[in-house]
């Protein structure tokens, strides 16, 4: 019995791992029924995989049986792999027992489509209902929305899940057509839109009737697979920006494609996953969400791809030297945020500290500014007088020489695949 359970867990955790979202934050389910768990303060990474990714949720598929044949997916119908399926009870037991030992923040449950969308969604719903109602589990639950499932089922699931997600998979419609002819972006945008409206509606009702249940309180997210199809970074990030705006998404995840198929529409097995590119996309995402950049400032027709050797903030600054140097003793917070080498925390500290007198270089360093990077872009109380203006390319080479760009030792050829 336990051997079979181990086997299932191995298969169904392995099949679920390509979904990279791991976040368990944003929940607000308090443990007020003396049950188990509290997603109010969740967001802890309990361990990290050997590839350095956060493990905070038990991330599994209910089953890897699937009636579809999406080329980029290990669970696709035509793939010759061992199939397995958990029972509802097994998922509940695993979640409860892992949580009790402080292994996890909660459950991330997804599934291949068996029989049809509603049949699958109904099973997922049974798991979350049992956890919440019978086991009084208040930990974090991230549930996949199954494309094509009925609105009643999605709505009910939303009352028990903290987060729901549905993956866009390919950043453009044409990419999706190529690899998953049975799928469309519309199948994704429709439930995203439905859930978004429900979230708004439940919130409105809660204002009037306090006892209105919570609905997907940690919001929705989506994932795009990067590097399986030939999109530019500009196309990817414009899609992301649009989805953030249209569906109020909490997160967009970018998952570098891991070759798992000999299909000639896809990068070969054994080719490197585009990890640096993935990292640059995440940096761009952060700049959009926390640093006040508009996607078009970072990526546009003149610059459709992100630089691989320097980060997108530095690369923007070098293209826009007319905005610099910035006097950090007078500039507005949002201008300071745009300086390479100064992050959100340092920017906030600068604005606080300068009230007590003009800041000097040594103070900036202590506050946490990466001065060797920032110095080309700022003025402070004791900035050395600079005789000549450097060109962007000169600054870039100075900075790279100093940081001995840790990225360059990777093979960058993977990025010129298309």
């Amino acid at each position: 019995m336990s051997e079979r359970l181990r086997e299932k867990l191995n298969i169904l955790a392995d099949a679920a791992k390509y979904d990279v979202s791991c976040s368990s934050s944003g929940g607000n389910r308090k443990n007020d029924n003396k049950g188990l768990g509290d997603s109010h303060a969740s967001g802890i990474c309990h361990t990290y995989t050997e590839d350095g990714r956060c493990v905070s949720l038990l991330k599994i598929l209910l089953t890897n049986h699937c009636i579809f044949d999406c080329a980029y997916c290990v669970s696709r119908k035509s793939n010759d792999i061992t199939r397995a399926a958990f029972t509802v009870e097994e998922v509940v037991e695993l979640t409860m027992n892992f949580y009790r030992r402080n292994y996890i923040e909660g459950l991330f449950l997804s599934s291949g489509i068996f029989k049809n969308a509603d049949f699958t969604m109904e099973r997922l719903l049974r798991v979350v209902k049992k956890l919440r109602l019978e086991e009084r589990f208040n930990g974090y639950i991230h549930l996949k929305t199954i494309p094509g499932a009925s609105e009643e089922l999605i709505r009910e699931a939303g009352m028990y899940a903290d987060r729901m997600s549905i993956n866009l998979e390919m950043p453009t419609e044409s990419g999706l057509k190529l690899l998953a002819p049975e799928k469309t972006h519309q199948q994704v945008t429709q439930p995203l839109g439905f859930i978004k409206n429900q979230i708004v509606q439940f919130k409105e009702e809660r204002k009037i009737i306090k006892s209105t249940p919570k609905f997907v309180s940690a919001g929705q997210s989506t994932q795009m697979v990067i590097g399986a199809t030939p999109e530019t970074d500009k196309e990817i990030m414009q899609t992301a920006a649009l989805f953030y705006k249209d569906f109020s998404l909490k997160r967009v995840y970018y998952s570098g494609y891991i070759p798992i198929s000999y299909d000639n529409r896809l990068p070969m097995i054994g080719s490197q996953p585009p990890l640096i590119r993935e990292n640059r996309l995440y940096q761009t995402d952060w700049l959009m969400r926390f640093y006040g950049f508009h996607v078009n400032e970072l990526l546009n027709d003149a610059n459709p791809h992100l630089d691989i050797d320097i980060d997108p903030k530095l690369s923007w600054a070098l293209r826009n030297l007319q905005h610099f140097p910035v006097d950090i003793n007078v500039a507005a917070y949002k201008v300071i945020l745009r300086i390479p080498g100064i992050g959100v925390t340092s920017a906030k500290k600068i604005v606080q500290a300068r009230k007590f007198g003009k800041l000097r270089i040594d103070q900036l360093k202590k506050i946490g500014v990466a001065y060797n990077r920032a110095k080309y872009f700022i003025k402070c109380a004791d900035s050395p007088y600079q005789l000549k203006d450097y060109q962007g390319s000169q600054i870039k080479s100075f900075i790279q020489a100093e940081s001995q760009s840790k990225y360059l030792k990777y093979d960058t050829s993977q990025l010129i695949l298309f």
């Binding site: 181990r6 990714r53 695993l94 292994y103 009084r136």
Partner: protein, 261 residues
């Protein structure tokens, strides 16, 4: 210059601040009894703990500092570092002399030191919240022994109490020899006599419940299965989970023999 010697308690520290304002002795060097080395050339003053004085200083801090700064103050105390005590003392004197505006003056070395030490303590707290692995013992209690760099038990108490409301648990600080015990209604401080029981960090207690080994094994399996070999990045892994914490982690324990079920 004076040597101020206090007993290492929070009360003692606050009394040192009180004393300084009462006597205004100029510059002083604050030390704990544990580390104090008498110096023939420097007069020394032993701080006497008085609850009332400590309370007055604490109320003063509460009225002058934001919640975030008060938390930093407390965390820095829990660091148990000599330089932390000095920073707290100097910070408090600076605050009472200059007024609340200075709390965010990161140009001042003590304001900055508080911020930095508190950050370290918060990080250790966070790591304990993440890396504690309960083991379900035969007596029904979920147990974990830890030896954190700083005295973080008071900081992690609430999180564990809120989460594990329907199970009994013990988190034991082996270094400081005290622990927290939750008995399904309240959390108490306890001392365990380890002469009766083996002293272990994290896991590896032989007296476990029937299903404990199964779930530990399933968790290890999960940890392996969720890894993506093509993305392997050991450097990043070790950066997130420094090796000295591995002893806590069920998923990092590898036995020679697979247990039988």
């Amino acid at each position: 210059m004076y040597n101020y010697v206090f007993d290492g308690s929070f009360e003692g520290l606050l009394c040192a601040v009180f004393n300084w304002f009462e006597r205004k002795p100029g510059q002083v060097k604050l030390q704990t009894e544990a580390t104090f080395q008498p110096d023939a050339f420097m007069p020394c003053l032993q701080i006497v703990n008085e609850r009332e004085k400590a309370d007055r200083v604490w109320r003063g801090l509460q009225s002058k500092l934001s919640k975030a700064s008060l938390r930093k103050f407390y965390c820095t105390y829990l660091s148990e570092l000599e330089e932390g005590y000095t920073a707290l003392f100097e910070f408090a004197c600076y605050l009472f002399a200059e007024g609340p505006a200075i709390e965010n003056n990161y140009g001042n070395p003590y304001v900055l030191a508080l911020s930095k030490i508190a950050k370290k303590v918060e990080r250790e707290k966070h790591r304990m919240e993440a890396f504690i692995r309960f083991q379900h013992n035969a007596d029904g209690i979920f147990y974990c022994g830890i030896d954190p760099d700083f005295n973080v038990l008071p900081l992690i108490l609430t999180l564990f109490k809120n989460r594990y409301a329907d199970q009994q648990w013990i988190i034991y600080d082996l270094k400081r020899d005290y622990g927290l015990f939750y008995d399904l209604s309240k959390v108490e401080e306890i001392n365990i006599d380890f002469k009766q029981q083996p002293k272990t960090t994290g896991i590896a207690n032989p007296i476990v419940s029937a299903k404990e080994n199964l779930y530990a094994l399933l968790w290890k399996d999960y940890f392996k299965s969720t890894n993506i070999q093509a993305r392997k990045n050991t450097k990043l892994h070790v950066q997130h989970v420094p090796k000295r914490y591995w002893k806590y982690l069920t998923e990092k324990q590898f036995e020679q023999d697979q247990p039988e079920f």
